[in-house]
Amino acid sequence: MADTPPQLVVIGNGMAGCRAVEEILARDPKRYQVTIFGAEPRVNYNRIMLSPVLAGEKTYEEIIINDQQWYDDNDIELVSGDPVANIDRSAKTVTSRSGRTINYDKLLIATGSDPFIIPVPGHDLPGVVTFRDLDDVDAMLAAAGLGGNAVVIGGGLLGLEAAHGLALRGMQVTVLHLMPTLMERQLDEAAGWLLKSALEARGQTILTGADTAEIVGDGKVQAVRLKDGTEIPADIVVMAVGIRPSTGLAKEAGLAIGRGIQVDDHMVTSDENILAVGECVEHDGNVYGLVAPLWDMCRSLADGLVAEPNGYRGSVTSTKLKVSGIDVFSAGDFSGGEGCEDIVLRDATRGVYKRVIVKEDKIVGAVLYGDTADGNWYFDLLKKGEDISEIRDALIFGQAFASGGGASLNPIEAVAALSDDAEICGCNGVSKGQVMACIGNGADTLDAVRSTCKASASCGSCTGLVENLLQLAMGDDYSGERTVQPMCKCTTFTHEDVRAAILEKELKEIPQLMQELSWSTPDGCASCRPALNYYLLCAWPEEHKEDPQSRFVNERMHANIQKDGTYSVVPRMFGGITTPNELRAIADAADKYEARTVKVTGGQRIDLFGIKKEDLPAIWADLNAAGMVSGHAYGKALRTVKTCVGSEWCRFGTQDSTGLGVKLEHMTWGSWMPHKFKIAVSGCPRNCAEATIKDFGVICVDSGYELLVGGNGGIHLRGTELLCKVETEEQAMEYCAAFIQLYREEARYLDRTAPWIERVGLDYVKSKVVEDDVGRKALQRRFLHSQRILQKDPWAERAAGSESHLHQHIAEIRPFAVVGAA
């Protein structure tokens, strides 16, 4: 018996179990007598190649790692299709489902992980499958053979691969993903957005933020219903929301379990004769679902068992994948953090996004989309913790560029070394020689270069190169400063550049815009995001994608935040006209919600102060019930139309200024603007409504209406200037709409009308609004079109329950009692 080697029993015939055995055999083929139990009735195959099998790119035979010959050659007994059901640690035996019991000296648990099934009603209907083994693939192929609709729940890697395979097999595929962006664990928001657009372009329907409520079907899957009520027809549902370590057996055997089976550096569990490896283990607090750490674990395990101890120290993981033919890569920590800096390169033409995260001169993370050639290089620098300060300027361009010899490390020398016909601007096909000639002819700023030879005037990604050329040509004479300031530090483009690009490239949502215009930060800043949201809204009132998280707090909450964190609420009173009923409702609301101050504002409204954010939807509902809507006193929007009583009551009044004011306010309320916008209508030149310090003022005279623009009563007092005089109310309305639309379309975000008019000149405004009849009517038409779509009472929407999370606490903590509230 002394010659009989000890028994090694392996539970799990998957990639980890067999790899561990291979590693042991490589070190000492005679050390153990090996028995492997597998749940599936087949030999060891490469599970990560299931996607190509589903997609029809590979066959099962092609993904086998070890065929029966390998088991035979190494004298390994394979018990397949008969999983281990029980471990008896005191007797040191395992028993299979069929009742077979064998002894072990060492036991290796490699049970991998189980797919997570969301326990929604209908999850056990026929036609609901997971994506974990070959049987799942067979089930999907059978369903695909009949055609129809497939719904994949889960927009992680596995779900997207299932979706891709089913789409290639001819099914109509919808992917439901709970999170706002796809593959959020591997990709940042920008890359996730690119992936979504690319998959949609291939005909898949991708629904993010989609929360599954129920799988519907009578004896078989028929549809998936979301919590918002949407129902998506489905002939097959693939559940790919995630995996969890398969620890059931180990738990029953009484081994220490955390998130996985807990192991030491040599993969030994809390029982010294039982080891565990792969996705089922927890090492140093981490569980891994990728293949590379698994190989590391198997090496450490074999070292510990047969050779010199060389313990497992955990793995830094990277993910390099092809998702439906699109290359993506991520590694390390890309969540940013204290002291982290982002280096971002976006190339819209090639569909490339690269982001390297640097901390203290070392790479800590990377996300690449579309071009992953340098992924391994970044990963290598990351793992080795190399100091990259020397190559920092060129880092993002990749290894070939950054390591291209010592001279090129200095960016100025690098551009000096380029030949004259080297292309600088890919968008406009401008060579270095052309840029240098243009600088030689007097273009001494970036803007001058852009306007003369067009280099860097399109996507802007070559801006750095052009600036380097300016410096090369001009030396110290190049100030480096642009005459026109970019929007913010996230971009080299000006407000005007961005607005032009939104129209030209038909940009309709923020992540798309940031990609197309090569934004240098992953998700912008508090300065550019609100501006971009407005520009998109203004350019595409129907199609733009509103981003509430890019609104300043007041516009997000539809109330004015005060210094103590409470809000003030101002209901709209059209033209400053109210009724006893409205006043009663306001008084009741002030009592009910304990307004600490009730103030009459300069814009002829009533302001209720000290309202708590939780009470906002309720007070709005009460005010709505009395017929009042939001006063937008909080917005970069039309605020108020102030009026005097006019010819109806006043002995000096020349026209119905109140009536015109009410009409103007009905036309313009709810319109978002670059900044706040105030209107007033005075019934005579005595000007009781103070129309001469408003953005748009009307002074009624006997013969008609004087239209005034560009006034401001703020820090810099500025009187209005006369735009023109018109004869009828209809004309006054038309000119007002046209003027507002010109301001909306051309002023920079946060410019009031006064500085805008000072910049462009009153003559310019007149040429557009007064002298160009066709243009004026077009401006008016665009304004009214926008109003038809966007003139909505936000209070009514909120009072009806929309965005209720903004007004509720997520939970509340009371000492000794915890109350969770969703």
């Binding site: 508090a526 707090v553 999370h805 997520i810």
Partner: protein
């Protein structure tokens, strides 16, 4: 899942990306829970070190929140004011486990003691 060290305050999908929710602590400081574009979750006392503005109502970008009152930028990971401003707001340990947000019990209750 309430343990000695962690309090479960709700499902993570109740927290909008690039947004925040509030968590009042009876007798103590209100806490703001933030979520970044990447899905990372952070918790700070809901008071800007400058003039006590409610940070939960600011714009979240990268892992920074800009205070809604005077545009101070506060790091979500350290609570420190960034740029030229100086000040710091306490951070509270928070993690996501099984789709639930867990917050450090001791630190959350620290101000209510």
């Amino acid at each position: 899942m309430v343990t000695a060290d962690w309090l479960d305050i709700g499902p993570v999908d109740q927290l909008p990306a690039l947004g925040a929710r509030t968590l009042p602590v009876q007798g103590g400081e209100e806490i703001a829970i933030f979520r970044t574009a990447n899905g990372d979750v952070y918790a700070l006392v809901n008071k800007c070190p400058h003039k006590q503005g409610p940070l939960s109502q600011g714009i979240v970008h990268d892992n920074v929140v800009t205070c809604p009152l005077h545009n101070w930028r506060i790091s979500l990971s350290s609570g420190e004011a960034l740029g030229d401003d100086e000040g710091c707001v306490p951070t509270i340990p928070v993690k996501v486990d099984g789709g639930r947000i867990l917050i450090g019990r001791k630190e959350a209750l620290a101000s209510a003691a």
